[in-house]
């Protein structure tokens, strides 16, 4: 609640937090983050989960000829977990960019560069949110009676969809002012999130990410990190593990099929209406955003 108390004094900080959350969902990567003083058991457990998830299900390329397979497995990994689907065109461009990096024709993407590109993409996307984007998101958050529960403590109560949409539209206009401080605040937050992931992955999945800080990231690695930030997906656990977690969750909660259906969840753990971490990463991953993020519009070559 400290953020609420801080709003009148520091509106920009609060709004920046909100906007970063809105487009990138950056506040939630709690469970998998490697604490500074993580016990060796925690580290081992997280490492096992990462190896069974990202480490096993995405076949990273170490040679140019493996680029297509790497991109296909990454696309499949993201789709299964969140419902975000890559177009054939994007897969083709991403594979070319991956090949070019592995061939030495293009440089690796530095963590700082990824942070900057993500910040630019977020700022641009915020300014172009359409009414439909806002309506779709509001719809996804609505209960059966059309009301939207704040999920906050009791004093926030319930809001109507109409009231919520009006306020969100006003918020969009505010973000279009292009405030430099806003961009700076967003960059700082995104930087923290990206660095957390790179640090965790390079420590616990060194066979894939050991050189992330020194050498940089391939386009596929960069996209996976951006996806992780946007969808709050820790990239852990295999499909069968995730399915088993869902099965166990239902049993623990003694949930009937009717109760499950009434929740209108997607069946996927992440992404829109995800049962583990619902989020709206599709707001960020438009064609333009992804092209900007990975600089794919010019054939995959970083300047």
């Amino acid at each position: 609640m400290s953020l609420i108390k801080g709003l009148p004094r520091r509106p920009l900080v609060a709004i920046t937090t909100v906007l970063a959350c809105a487009v990138l969902g950056v506040a939630v990567w709690q469970a998998p983050r490697l604490p500074a003083k993580a016990s060796s058991e925690d580290r081992q457990q997280l490492q096992n989960q990462l190896r069974k998830g990202l480490g096993s299900e995405v076949r990273f390329a170490s040679h140019p000829e493996q680029a297509d397979e790497a991109v296909a497995s990454a696309a499949d990994f993201i789709y299964w977990r969140s419902g975000l689907k890559m177009s054939d065109e994007l897969k083709r461009k991403l594979a070319k960019a991956e090949r070019d990096v592995l061939k030495g024709k293009s440089p690796y993407i530095s963590v700082s560069e990824l942070t900057g590109d993500m910040t630019t993409a977020v700022v641009d996307r915020l300014a172009t949110l359409t009414d439909k984007d806002i309506h779709d998101a509001a719809e996804a958050s609505s209960g059966a009676n059309g009301e939207i529960r704040s999920r906050a403590d009791a004093k926030w109560g319930v809001m109507t969809k109409r009231s919520l949409i009006q306020q969100a539209q006003a918020g969009r206009e505010w973000s279009r002012r292009g405030d430099v401080e806003l961009q700076s605040g967003l960059r700082s937050m995104i930087e923290g999130e990206v660095n957390d992931r790179v640090s965790t992955l390079s420590t616990l999945l060194p066979e894939k990410f050991a050189n992330a800080n020194s050498q940089g990231l391939t386009p596929t690695q960069a996209l996976l990190i951006a996806y992780s930030v946007a969808a709050d997906d820790p990239l852990t656990n295999s499909r069968s593990d995730v399915t088993q977690i869902l099965r166990q969750k239902r049993m623990d909660e003694r949930q009937t099929k009717e109760e499950w259906k009434a929740q209108h969840l997607s069946g996927r753990p992440y992404g829109p209406r995800g049962w583990l971490h619902p989020s709206a990463p599709q707001l960020f991953f438009t064609k333009n955003s992804v092209d900007k993020l990975l600089n794919l519009s010019e054939g995959g070559e970083k300047q």
Binding site: M1, C21, A152, G171, K257, G267, A280
Partner: protein, 235 residues
């Protein structure tokens, strides 16, 4: 202006769910892995009602579980938490195979540690996806606690498949926290319909009468490359 900014923050947070610093706060607590926990909140956010709110569930395999804070400190909730036990026994159901169109009216579960001291044990039936399909309490428990009798739940709407039967003992004050174990039971004789013959049972097929469409029943624009974002998964 300040009021507007606060309002905007709140509205945006609500619209783009999944990242909400104003959302209900949770505490990560610890306990023995895989046992049931129970927290009875005497008050919620300072308001004390006649019927106390509760949080129940099972501690994760890593010994952690998450509960709503509801105005309490996490250390306070940790001290309020009650834990059950989980013997994790492998039990046997008899009959182990049930003809669903004409199921028996009752069955026997054998094992050990069934306890009727405070209340009859509860018997829950789960399908292969983890959904609860029925729950009954035992009608009798043998004096040595090695077997119990229970009526079959309503199986008139379930389909052929493997079911898990879980037995839980009650605490002195009526909470089912002490898991004894589980048995498997096979149901047969009523296959789930697949109206369009595409291999997906109607309940898992988003278009049960269209054999060319198995997933993707609910789509919104978005996703990489502006392709449709499929929200209907196969899980």
């Amino acid at each position: 202006m300040k009021k507007i900014l606060a309002g905007l923050s709140f509205s945006l947070l609500l619209i783009f769910s999944g990242c909400n610093p104003f959302a209900e706060q949770y505490c990560n607590l610890t306990g023995q892995p895989n046992v049931s926990y129970l927290i009875i909140y005497p008050c919620v956010n300072g308001i004390c009602g006649p019927i106390p709110d509760t949080a129940t569930g099972t501690v994760g395999p890593d010994g952690r579980f998450r509960v709503p804070q509801r105005g309490f400190s996490c250390s306070g909730l940790q001290s309020l938490a009650r834990f059950g036990s989980n013997m994790g026994l492998s039990l046997s159901a008899s009959p182990a195979s049930v003809y669903l169109p004409a199921p028996p009216t009752s069955g026997t579960i054998t094992g050990q540690s069934f306890n009727a001291t405070y209340a009859m044990p509860r018997v829950d039936y789960f399908d292969s996806n983890g959904f609860l399909v029925g729950s009954v309490v035992a009608t009798s428990v043998s004096s040595d606690g090695t077997s119990l009798q229970a009526n079959m739940p309503d199986l008139s709407y379930v389909y052929s498949g493997t079911y898990r039967v879980k037995v839980t003992n009650s605490t002195y004050d009526g909470y089912y926290l002490n898991i004894v174990g589980s048995a498997t039971l096979t149901g047969w004789g009523r296959d789930e319909p697949d109206s369009d013959g595409d291999g997906w049972p109607d309940s898992q097929d988003c278009a049960p009468y269209d054999s060319f469409m198995q997933t993707g029943c609910l789509e919104t624009c978005g996703g990489f490359g502006d392709e449709p974002l499929t929200l209907c998964g196969p899980i």
